[in-house]
Amino acid sequence: MASRGSFRTFGHLGLRARIAATFALGAVVVSLVLITTLLVLVRRNLLNERERQLTDRAEVNVGLVADKVGREGVDAQTVFGSLATIGRPSVLIRDKGSATYVPISLDTRYGAASVPDALVEQVLEERDTALMRYRSNGETLVVVGVPLPEEDGAYFEVNQLRDIERSIDGLRIPVALAATLATVSGAVFGWTASRRVLKPLGEMANVATDISEGRFDARLPYSEWADDPDLAPLVSSFNNMVGALQDRIDRDARFASDVSHELRSPLTTFNASIEVLRNARDEMPERAQLALDLLSSDMARFTQLVEDLLEISRFDAGAVRLEIDPVPLVETIRMVVRALSATPIPVEADSTLEQAIVYCDKRRVVRIIANYVDNARKYADGATRILVERAPADPGDDDSAEPTPDSARIIVEDEGPGVPELEQDRIFDRFNRGTLGGSRGSDLGVGLGLALAAEHARLQGGRVWVEPRTDGVTGARFILELPLIDPPPGQEPDAEDHPTPLDEVVTATGQHDVIQVDRPAHEARADSSDSGDADSAGADTAEGGARAGSGGSGDRAGSP
């Protein structure tokens, strides 16, 4: 699970980013439409107003000018000076007969060329005031034409609208700023608004993670959302679902526990009674002895079956607790083998693992090894060798995969018929004895052992599999791979005494070994299950100077 543990607010555009982007997009579109409409309307209004003014003015000016035009002795400047103008229009008077223009304004930039022919035609033909607006050389000109009644000519004013253009232009920067601001605030608004929407989702994800990790009392805080008519039902139905789930799991676990008790009591009586009978076996007739042997061997099988069933029902009920402790791996394996097998089985360990303390659930590891050794005895005349090897870390295929730690492999080898390739996965299924199952005598397991081994291994991050022997001999290699993990969080003990290079260790296999200093740091870590003790390292001052640099974390120099 890649996103386990934390709700993803950012990913390849997470939901929240998408909401914010949508808000921003909405804001920019709305602001652009509003602003554009506004600008167009303002411009049009300004222009219309101006055109109306210009037209009125032109008509007034014509009245003033008409009688002076063409008269001798009246110079253009005088005429122009008498006109009321807005801005500085260029005035032209067109004489119809000669079709020439008489400029009477001072700004000569707008000569006859500035008056469109279409306008001239319209004014002269229709003898009516007309107006035309057009753009030329980047500026907008408004030309007003008024026919001169007596002269049969026309009067034109060429006006620039630079002031209006400037006002409109001047609006562009504030408008652009406003649009940007709208976009940004849209995004911000979307981001914040979505937080409230998504918060319950994020918390839900966290709670779901908690639940999947076995903390069934995890709930969403309903009171926080109680006032929200949209979210309250979601939160409460989520909590109800978790509650129902918890009830159900509790019920299952209770059932498993009750069944466990109910089955264990009679089995205890059976086992004790059979023991009493076996103590008196010699006094029994031969037939009764035979019956007793059958009874006691099947009782052992039945007891094992019940234990396995109870174990597996605990797995199914999710009522499983790992007990991760520091375990001297090789020593433990040697003890298991010695206890289980009448004939000694050599245990060959990698030198770096010989003394290794491995953090694992000892009971489960022992069950797996015991099961392997037991299987070898049943199907392959006993295990021939047990190897403990170090498997290199798997670097992981892609970046997302967490690097796996080094692992230890415990390999139980036999010289039996081996396991057919087709069966190699299936024998780890429940109640599957493999094709070998039926063909061997009566002393068979029921087929839960390997399934349990797989569960036990998986639970602590390890795995199990079987492969054929690679050295040419027929036979099988049953393998348990355990990650060489650091002590689980919270189990890092208070600072205690470090192993010293010269510490002699008394192990249960009777050896008095001397610790090797070069053990990898994570193997030299502390005694975890003792974490309830408030020990402190200081007690051992005598050897303080000779402490091994085992690099263990949590190394608090203690007080005396």
Binding site: A272, P499, V506
Partner: protein, 229 residues
Amino acid sequence: MSPVGTRILSVEDDERIRTAVKLALEDEGWQVDEATNGEDAINAFGRAPTDVVLIDIMLPGIDGFEVCRQIRRQSDVPIIMVTARADTHDVVAGLEAGADDYLTKPFAPKELSARIRALLRRARSTEPGVSRLRFGELEIVPDEGLVTSNGEQAHLTKTEFRLLVELASSPGRVFSREALLERVWGHGYFGDGRLVDVHVRRLRTKVEVDPAHPRHVVTVRGLGYKLQP
């Protein structure tokens, strides 16, 4: 084989189990007294000298933990808890209540008698001739079962005493929990390290001046325990 006249008090409410276990233990040559509930058990314990007590945790009325605590208050007799649940909680609670060992039902009677025998063993004398071991303020007299700290006698249970003597047999040497399980409790490969941890904790409260900062019974990280001279 076993000490003559060894008396075991078996506290179990299930009559069939009680009877079968009694028969099996009698086959080992031990004398078995029975109690069906907590009150009976405490009364029976007061009446006759008892060498080992076997207590089922699930008892009607006063439960096994309480019986264990009450017996422990008046005696250092070895106590074995019997539980139907391998629940870790039960196990630790039983040990905290003062039990020396525990068994999970259904147990093999051979396993039970092996445990009883281990608990009945006397603490081993370290070396013949050495009758007194002294580590600072801590003094151990193995043959007399006596431990004093600063001259005051510490009241250890038999198992705590054996654990201490075992550690004291090689001062400064680290004992793995597995080794201690085998030597003190007679457990096989399946021993439960918590047994050692709980006993070490109890031992410290009795022999250490400051149990939170033990000077003598010291944890060696990842390896086990040792007795620091």
